[in-house]
Symmetry: C2
Subunit: 316 residues, 2 copies
């Protein structure tokens, strides 16, 4: 990779070459200095795609739903790519095995890629916004982002997606848990999947009540849809509502606002990423292995050292 | 809080005053400079507690199981505290409502506290190791840490707990999902909860096969237990195995190794925390609101600016 100049790589990405896209995403996932050069060159060709986040607990059926969405979106003329950030997604084989490109008859031209949700502190992979830029410069204009939902991870999806779809299953307590996890407020569309199960309609009611309780901001009234992902029931309706939300955002000006937040988060993540590596190096410099040993034994108190370092950083 | 000197606060914590413990944990959760002073003063009284992580997907029954463990542990003479890092935990009301101290007859003296899994990037709350130090200096010698399991979050629990208990429920695909999420390898004890459900024994078999496939390192052979948390079935056996793992760690010297990793992670987190705030500030300095606007409009390319900043940091 080091031998291919980034401008040649960007040119190949723009030409839609699948291998080049794969290499470019691998590059932006890395910490190599060239990654910023590539992003700089890709930048003029980015910023246009419509990004849909599919989030929810493991086992909610996000992958199946994503898969079912694809033919509908293709039929509407979108050029579709999928980013799987969910470590439990069947798509995520790709994160270990390299790219997986599906050549189903129905899915021709869909690019599917997994990103490891790595990094020492977790959270939505910092590479997501960069991978989106690569995909945009390759001409994809609809990007589905599948992300596992739990705690902070779920909340982060709003900083990369224009439309957030929360997938729930009719299980006792799921609505309560989603509320507690702070995901309820950030979704734009709700899907009660596995709607053939008992309690699906009840769940929709619970959810409707929870939303009204929360006092959703005026403007967009988030629909709650029932789907059965494996047989495709309700999927077409979901597509219509995704499009409707897209239109709403453009008409209301919310789109621009979200883009601002997304861009800020993206840049902050890149800055943070660098500082994170510095934190690792710094910790190892401040606390060498023998010092750590002494700390564990109680012979050295690490906190005065830390305080001193923080003061030297202009922090307290 | 600012008016109470940290040494007086530490003295009250050491005396076991519940309000002082609450205040001290709130302080170490904050970014106030005094937090390091408090940790410095608490440090000589820390490092001794046995820390047990209870992790698993939302809805696996972690909280109920934790609750059932308490009377057994108290009967064994432990002074027990619970830290709930799970945002979906019923214990986590405390994160919003302030401390909740239970005065059940069976649970006298148990201190229960929630920590928000906050921070811009998620991950196990950085305050956990600090809160543990506060609890240790208050004389607690067994700390249960309940943490929601998904992706990276699950993996982080190993850096704060001596013994990691993974709670699973008999659901199709749960073992596969846990394997993919990288949690299988890091648990020391496995619990198939809701063992009255169909498929519990089958799950134990699947899990056993998965573990043998993974080639667990020699020494500790992680048991797989069946429990029914609501009625306490299997809980006593779980307690026995937790104690056994504790003994194993001391006998094998693994305990010291883990403490080294835990300490390194703790210090790294504190360094990281500072750098994270710097990242936010820096991003806002590098990219003022009007610049962000221009970036969204495509008029300004942010990446040359970023590259320049990284170079100034000695990074590429």
């Amino acid at each position: 990779m080091a031998t291919l100049p980034t401008d040649a790589l960007v040119a190949s990405v723009r030409a839609g070459q699948v291998r080049a896209i794969a290499r470019a995403i691998t590059l932006v996932e890395s910490s190599l200095p060239e990654r910023l050069r590539l992003l700089e060159q890709a930048f003029p060709h980015t910023g246009h795609a419509f990004k849909v986040g599919i989030t929810g607990a493991p086992g909610a059926g996000k992958s199946t739903l994503t898969y079912q969405l694809l033919p509908h979106l293709i039929a509407l003329g979108y050029r579709v790519a999928v980013l799987a950030v969910d470590p439990t997604s069947p798509f995520s084989g790709g994160a270990i095995l390299g790219d997986r490109i599906r050549f189903d008859e129905a899915l021709q031209g869909v690019y599917i890629r997994s990103l490891a949700s790595r990094g020492s502190v977790g959270g939505l992979s910092r590479a997501v916004p960069s991978a989106i830029r690569v995909l945009e410069s390759a001409g994809f204009n609809l990007i589905l982002i599948e992300t596992v939902g739990a705690g902070q991870l779920q909340v982060d999806v709003r900083y990369v997606a224009d439309t957030v779809v929360l997938v729930l299953v009719p299980e006792a307590g799921d609505v309560i848990q989603a509320m507690k996890a702070g995901i309820i407020e950030i979704a734009d569309l709700y899907v009660v999947n596995k709607a053939d199960r008992e309690g699906a309609k009840r769940m929709r009611l619970d959810l409707r009540n929870a939303l009204e309780l929360g006092g959703k901001p005026k403007g967009w009234n988030p629909p709650i849809l029932l789907t059965e992902a494996p047989n495709g029931k309700g999927v077409e309706e979901l597509v219509q509502h995704i499009q409707e939300h897209h239109r709403y955002q453009h008409d209301s000006g919310e789109w621009e606002l979200r883009r601002l937040q997304q861009t800020e988060w993206e840049l902050q993540s890149l800055v943070h990423d660098t500082l994170e590596r510095q934190a690792r190096d710094l910790t190892r410099t401040l606390f060498a292995p023998e010092t750590l040993q002494q700390i564990v034994q109680g012979a050295v108190n690490p906190f005065p050292l830390l305080s001193e370092w923080l003061r030297s950083q202009g922090n307290g």
